[in-house]
Amino acid sequence: MTAAAGYGRALDLITRVRGVRGAMLVSAEDGIVVADQLMEGIKGPAVAALASSLTTRLRRAMEAAGVGASVFWHLQAEQGALLVVPTGGAGGILVVAVAEPDVNVGLVRLELLRAAEVAG
């Protein structure tokens, strides 16, 4: 399987969950979108850059707090959520989902972790 096909399969796992508006694979180091399946209107590159920056800050804060690097984080908002699984540390890939407010977070988390295995 080519890398592109692998990425596509990983994203499919996430976007098939009801309430998910899109998914991306993002380079953790520079915040660049590696692959995406996003609904129209979502500003992928900008969101990817911010997700990367937030991941870095969280990783550093969590390591300093002694709870280890983040394996999943979830930004909750009034009208939706951003869910992220970082893989492979600072030089790895972020698996990102944008979701509706009533999405099943547990299910998305599971698919993000599965997608991380496929993409990794």
Binding site: K43, A46, L58, A61
Partner: protein, 273 residues
């Protein structure tokens, strides 16, 4: 504030690109180790030349060393980067006070008050400025009350009675300044300042992210770590509350703890406004 120059120095050595230099230099400055603070701030500034807080810190250290001309330049630079930077506005007001230009001092303090209407230090300094030139001769030091205070505010009372108040709850302002609570790592070491430094700016980035996505305001940020979980929330518009617990505490329970702590923090912030 815990006396952890050594810890912060070690952490900064491990991660020289981090913003820990701000806390370390401020701590050294408070201890009167101005030359050491100067070195740390300058090194940090070289790595983060576009960081307004770094220029502000460097300016305060220069003011401590009575190098007012360069302090002026640094605060001026701070305002070029962040035009409503309260610390720089206060700092410039202090310098104008020193040369007797009360009108300019008051103008800068008024700008600071617009940016931080709830800052009691600004109100106090403004009252002093409006009180007349004779008051100016008192020459307040750069950070009392003109420059930003860096001491935690009666921290023990913020989360009084809440579980983990002194090892797993932390209240910060928008710039990462510790307002209350404390954090300890699993070995019992105080990591309050280090964690606070890394969380500076998180609320702004979270707000920008959800705005870009058209999701309204952000209400919480939960993260699972390998050894524990954290939950971040905003008790008020510009404060940030962090709850840390080990992995035995489920994320849902953590959110409830965060809600209770946010309520306590909101009351405390309103009472101290």
């Amino acid at each position: 504030m815990p006396d952890d120059v050594k810890t912060l120095s070690a952490q900064l050595a491990q991660d020289p690109d981090s913003l820990l230099f701000l806390r370390l230099a401020e701590l050294l400055r408070q201890k009167g180790q101005v030359d050491a603070a100067h070195r740390v701030a300058l090194t940090g500034l070289e790595r983060h030349p576009h960081l307004a807080d770094a220029h502000d810190l460097y300016a305060r250290i220069l003011a401590d060393k009575h190098d007012y001309e360069r302090a002026f330049d640094e605060w001026d630079m701070t305002l070029r980067i962040a035009p409503a930077h309260v610390g720089a506005l206060k700092g410039l007001a202090f310098l104008y006070f020193k040369v007797g230009d009360v009108q300019q001092a008051a103008a800068h303090l008024e700008a600071a008050q617009r940016a931080a209407p709830d800052d009691p230090g600004v109100a106090q300094a403004l009252a002093l400025a409006r009180g007349g030139a004779s008051e100016v001769e008192r020459e307040p030091p750069p950070d009392v009350p003109l420059a930003p205070a860096a001491q935690p505010l009666e921290e023990a009372r913020v989360f009084a009675g809440l579980e983990g108040a002194q090892e797993g709850l932390l209240l910060l302002d928008a710039s990462g300044r510790v307002l209350g609570g404390a954090l300890k790592d699993p070995q019992g070491q105080d990591v309050t300042d280090a964690v606070a430094a890394y969380l500076a700016g998180v609320s702004q980035e979270a707000a920008r992210t959800v705005k870009l996505l058209g999701l309204g305001g952000w209400t919480g940020l939960a993260a699972e770590g390998k050894l524990g979980h954290i939950h971040l929330t905003q008790p008020t518009g510009d404060a940030l509350l962090l709850v840390v617990r080990d992995r035995a505490v489920p994320m849902g329970r953590l959110a409830i703890i965060a809600q209770r702590a946010a309520l306590a923090a909101r009351r405390w912030l309103e009472a101290h406004a």
